[in-house]
Amino acid sequence: MIDVDHFTMKYYGPPAVDDISFSIPEGAIVGFLGPNGAGKTSTMRVLAGYLSPTEGEIRIAGHDVVRESIAARTAIGYLPENVALYPEMRVREYLAYRADLEGVRRSDRAARVSDVMERCLIADVAEKTAGTLSKGYKQRVALAGALVHRPPILILDEPTVGLDPKQIIKIRELIKELGRERTVLLSTHILPEVEAVCDQVLIIDRGKIVGQGTPDELRRRGSGASIVRAVFAGDVPARDVLSAIDGVRAIEETRTDGETRVRIEAAEGIDVREAVFRQAVENRWVMRELAGETATLEDVFVRLTTRDQGEAESAHA
């Protein structure tokens, strides 16, 4: 549904987005991750038809965003990063206006507006003017505006910013539900959000794509090692004994409050938990905790984006 081919975006100085290509199939919910200034908003604005790409070809539902801009824009519902409503307009009125701009048939308009207000949990403020709403409500009014014409593709730039935890959960549910019949690309800083909502993840840093795949794939690929943590009662020579276990690469040991804590790093794909347990029994150590640690998306994200930063810096030097 979204095809990006060798897309580059330049303003002044180094490119904000540097020759990226990716493709998003129909019906996928894709999380777009990256540190601030990585090029997320630039990319989303180009997809939405707000900016023209410096180079490259971008197709939305088969329509080129430059040559067939109107057709491409019709296929998209876009929630910009900075939500701006007309403060003097009532919510219902605003959504009717958005429906008109999107070319919704007049006979469908009232029903569509009521429907999106229901879905985005803003029916209670339908007759209020936008200027009096809280940030969370404004955000949802803008989201409703992006949905009112039932576009096959949604581009949401940080859809849950400014919402309270309860609203965040509701909006995530809504996005998931929308993703069943639509293609969704959403950017966010909130990593748990990606794991909760997205089927696919795209990590961008300094204008380059540095990671791509399902959240599970990225987690597995990202860690590069399997980690086990254990805690034993008393002072025990854990490092000396446990380093004999097959596959163990490194052990950190700390002794505090009459406990010995170890962090064991083993080669990728090797689970040393059972071996650690057996050693503890043999040596008659009292084990208080034993846990395998899976890499979180956060670890992966930090690793991918900082590694790239290091490379970029050494490249500049």
């Binding site: 109107i70 057709a71 824009r73 007309y86 999107e102």
Partner: protein, 245 residues
């Protein structure tokens, strides 16, 4: 067309959501009412000649002050406010061409401007009830007012596309209108007959005199309509060029 009306309607309503629209209406209606009552006073004197009383409304200092100062105020908000608040992003990512956006906004400003002149039409009818006036002159004068208004409003729309700051947009519009208005003065300063001729074509108050005498010259109409179209085109081009800034 639906999209055009949606934009024009929103813009039109926003004149009445802020005090600005009411201030402009009140000020303009007050001044025109005052001029009308002066005309009535003059007509009431015994032996007054009453050939074209209404032409005075379109050709007095107040009229020109209004055109120069108030038109940039009517148009200053059109594009600059959307760019400042960021709502332009939503507008430009909707399936609407930038030409439709500019025309819709201009249409709203023009409708507001036309409403300003409604009382004058009423004055003509009132006068017509008590005395014989030449309604053709009234119509040609109103036509002139609408054409000139369209021209200056288009200039103001262009000015509004240039800046995110409404005050800057208003000042730019004012300066551009002053320059256009003053272009006619050049004809008094040059001797070359060709140059003199060219600038006399641009002399707006001479055009207005013609209209006020009931002369509808198609050259004047072409001048106003084509100039308005030029400035609306410039506004549209600026809107496109400033995307994302």
């Amino acid at each position: 067309m639906r999209k055009f009306f949606a934009i024009a309607r929103r813009e039109w309503l926003s004149y009445f959501y802020s005090p600005l629209g009411y201030i402009v209406l009140a000020a303009f209606w007050f001044v025109n009412g005052f001029i009308f009552s002066t005309i009535l006073g003059y007509l009431s004197q015994p032996g007054a000649r009453s050939l074209q009383p209404l032409a005075t409304i379109f050709n007095n200092t107040f009229f020109w002050i209004f055109m120069l100062f108030f038109i940039p105020v009517i148009t200053m908000r059109l594009i600059s406010e959307e760019r400042k608040s960021g709502s332009i992003e939503t507008l430009l990512t909707s399936p609407v061409t930038s030409a439709t956006i500019v025309l819709g906004k201009f249409a709203a400003a023009f409708a507001f401007y036309a409403v300003l002149w409604l009382p004058v039409a009423a004055y003509a009818l009132i006068l017509n009830h008590f005395m014989t006036i030449d309604l053709r002159i009234v119509l040609s004068s109103l036509l002139a007012v609408l054409l000139l208004g369209a021209y200056f409003l288009a200039v103001g729309t262009f000015a509004s596309s240039l800046s995110k700051n409404q005050i800057v947009a208003a000042i730019l519009g004012f300066v551009m209108i002053i320059v256009i208005f003053s272009a006619g003065l050049v004809q008094t300063l040059v001797n070359d007959p060709a140059v003199k001729d060219a600038f006399s074509y641009l002399t707006i108050w001479d055009h207005m005199d013609d209209f006020a005498r009931g002369v509808v010259d198609t050259r004047h109409i072409v001048y106003y309509v084509s100039s308005a179209a030029l400035f609306l085109y410039l506004a549209q081009a600026t809107l496109e060029a400033k995307k994302g800034q």
